[in-house]
């Protein structure tokens, strides 16, 4: 079981409030991603759950038991660090076995479990090597192996893929997701990369300035962001925001339209008029950065190739059903 509940969790370092009261319900077996800009408190929140930091206030329940006074090792969680934090003087086998050894597990059982974990992660040929003899991806796998071998109630991942190159990152993303589904263990995963969040998570927690802005499934966040921050943070390229008269006509202070919900018409009438400033042709998609005079710079995404070039006049027609409206405090207005 790995049901984790946060109740009014607060953390301050001296006068600085890092976490300003977090409430969260993480159901057993789900993959939850904490995402937010740097300094939003996502790593701190993870470390509070891990027990590497003391909470200033509130409660953390693991399977219904408050663990705020329980040392990290006794919480039954395991963690994968951004730097992997492998023990440089131990072999891969030693690294994976260390937690079991500390728990006093019998030798042959340790060996059996380590070998099983290594087989799952394709590490069997490297068991006797030292971390420095491994590639980045292999080190990453060892760190994961160290986490799974203890059969924890939940995995904690602290930006584990940020040190890998782009191609490997996509591959490891898949592997981590598949492994988590296969084991059915709760996972909490911290990242600043919203693509990682969208692709991996069952549920996403968007954090900003020490507060939880929204908690929901990736599509909920995409379709129904609670506020301007979430609307702007989730989705790539970013949502376009328009203020002023146009927004007022819709009964809002700000309206937002995602680039993929703008229809592009060459020399069109109607809609929002502008001039193409930059056109990015990816083959599969075309991204247009359009200078729309008073509306500012707008981004539009077209699936497929669109033969437009800088200087061309275009009109952008927003899909009326996909316009997000925000009041003057930035909250979403739902019809």
């Amino acid at each position: 079981m790995g049901q984790i509940t946060l109740q009014g969790v607060q953390k301050s370092f001296g006068p600085v409030h890092i976490i300003k009261g977090a409430d969260l319900e993480i159901t057993d077996g789900s993959f939850v991603v904490f995402v937010g800009p740097s300094g939003c408190g996502k790593t701190t929140l993870l470390r509070l759950i891990a027990g590497l930091e003391d909470v200033t206030g509130g409660a953390i329940l693991i399977d219904g038991r408050n663990v705020v006074d329980v040392p990290p090792a006794k919480r039954g969680l395991s963690m994968v660090f951004q730097s992997y934090a492998l023990y440089p003087h131990m072999s891969v086998r030693g690294n994976i076995a260390f937690g079991l050894k500390m728990a006093g597990v019998a030798k042959d059982e340790i060996n059996r479990k380590v070998e099983a974990a290594a087989a799952t992660l394709n590490l069997t040929p490297y068991l006797e090597r030292k971390p420095r003899e491994l590639s980045g991806g292999q080190r990453q796998r060892v760190a994961i192996g160290r986490a799974i071998v203890r059969e924890p109630k939940a995995f904690l991942f602290d930006e584990p893929l940020s040190n890998l190159d782009a191609a490997l990152r996509v591959q490891m993303r898949l592997e981590v997701t598949r492994l988590q589904k296969q084991l059915g263990t709760t996972a909490i995963y911290v990242t600043h990369d919203q693509v990682e969040a969208m692709t991996m998570a069952d549920k996403i927690v968007v954090l900003n300035g020490g507060k939880i802005e929204q908690y929901g499934s990736p599509l909920e966040l995409y379709e129904k962001p609670n506020n301007l921050f979430v609307a702007g943070f989730i989705g790539s390229p970013k949502m376009n925001f328009v203020t002023g008269e146009l927004a007022r006509q819709q009964g809002a202070t700000t309206i937002g339209v995602r680039p993929e919900h703008l229809k592009v018409e060459r020399d069109g009438q109607g809609g929002w008029q502008g001039t193409v400033a930059v056109a990015e042709h990816l083959g599969s998609d075309t991204f247009l950065y359009v200078d729309a005079a008073a509306l500012g710079m707008l981004t539009a995404r077209y699936v497929g190739e669109l033969d437009l070039h800088p200087g061309d006049r275009v009109s952008l027609i927003p899909d009326p059903a996909r316009i997000h409206r925000f009041d003057d405090s930035g909250k979403s207005i739902h019809a």
């Binding site: 370092f13 027990g51 590497l52 930091e53 003391d54 040392p71």
Partner: protein, 290 residues
């Protein structure tokens, strides 16, 4: 940033070291200040009396103090100049591609590991002895009269020995700094059309400015209190010609047993060292933040 439990443990572990160093600093220093205000001679026990600043007046106006202050400054200044002026080219040389570099490095560093009393005696007897020393023989080969080093140029002789001991230190630190100089910076300068000399002046030398400062400060702290080399070779003489502040205080304390005056002198030495230490601590402190 850790849990309270580990922080408490950390404070507990730090305490013995802090307490010991605090006592080590404060007790002798307080006693030195106290003794400095007393008339106190070990040969004349029972005559201790408070004399205020009399010892300072006596110590500071003593011609021996002025002479030894001058000797100290000449010694420190000369050794600094010699070790830096020779150390920079030597470090540059060792930074080149040299066959058997590791062996050359060992030979250059070796003098630093020789205990001061040994190096003083080797130089005094085997090299600088006016009759049987190697230098006398070399002078003889060129038809020159042998120099009686410790009588004719006593302070210079001490400077020579001390420089030999500290040249490896300066070289080693400058060499380490040179090796940390980004090769791409030099290559960029080369692409910009800089000659070897301009590269040295505009790239290498500015890079060495900080390590040179560090060498100067650390050497100064140790050179202010050079003792064993003088103790072994000249005993401060002839006359006061090689007496530096450290040796003067030693002779007042343990030869003339004048505790009061020696303590006053000790405080003067502390003040001198602190002026240097002030700058060194600032440099190290800045580095600690980076």
């Amino acid at each position: 940033m850790a849990t309270q439990q580990t922080q408490l443990l950390a404070r507990t572990l730090l305490t013995p070291a802090v307490a010991l160093l605090f006592i080590w600093m404060i007790v002798p220093l307080a006693l030195t200040i106290y003794f400095a205000t007393l008339h106190y001679n070990l040969l004349d026990p029972g005559s201790e009396s408070f004399v205020g600043l009399e010892n300072f007046r006596y110590f500071l106006t003593d011609p021996a103090f002025l002479a030894s202050l001058q000797n100290t400054l000449v010694l420190v200044g000369s050794v600094l100049a010699i070790t830096i002026i020779l150390g920079v080219p030597l470090a540059l040389l060792l930074d080149q591609q040299v066959v058997g570099l590791s062996i050359v490095r060992l030979m250059v560093i070796a003098p630093f590991f020789v205990m001061p009393t040994v190096s003083a005696l080797v130089w005094k007897n085997l090299l600088m002895h006016p009759v049987s020393g190697l230098f006398a023989w070399i002078a003889h080969l060129f038809g020159l009269p042998a120099i009686d080093w410790f009588n004719d140029a006593p302070l210079f002789s001490v400077i020579l020995i001390v420089s030999w001991q500290w040249l490896p230190f300066a070289t080693l630190i400058l060499l380490t700094a040179l090796q940390s100089l980004d090769e791409e910076q030099k290559e960029a300068a080369e692409m910009d059309g800089a000659s070897a000399i301009s590269t040295f002046i505009y790239i290498t030398l500015p890079h060495l400015a900080r390590p040179i400062t560090v060498v100067i400060l650390i050497e100064t702290i140790f050179l202010l209190t050079v003792f064993a080399e003088i103790f072994v070779t000249t005993g401060g003489g002839p006359g006061l010609q090689t007496t530096n502040i450290a040796f003067l205080i030693y002779s007042q304390a343990l030869i003339q047993y004048d505790v009061g005056s020696a303590s006053a002198g000790g405080l003067v030495a502390v003040v001198l060292a602190n002026i240097v230490a002030f700058f060194l601590v600032r440099i190290v402190g800045r580095n600690l933040e980076a």
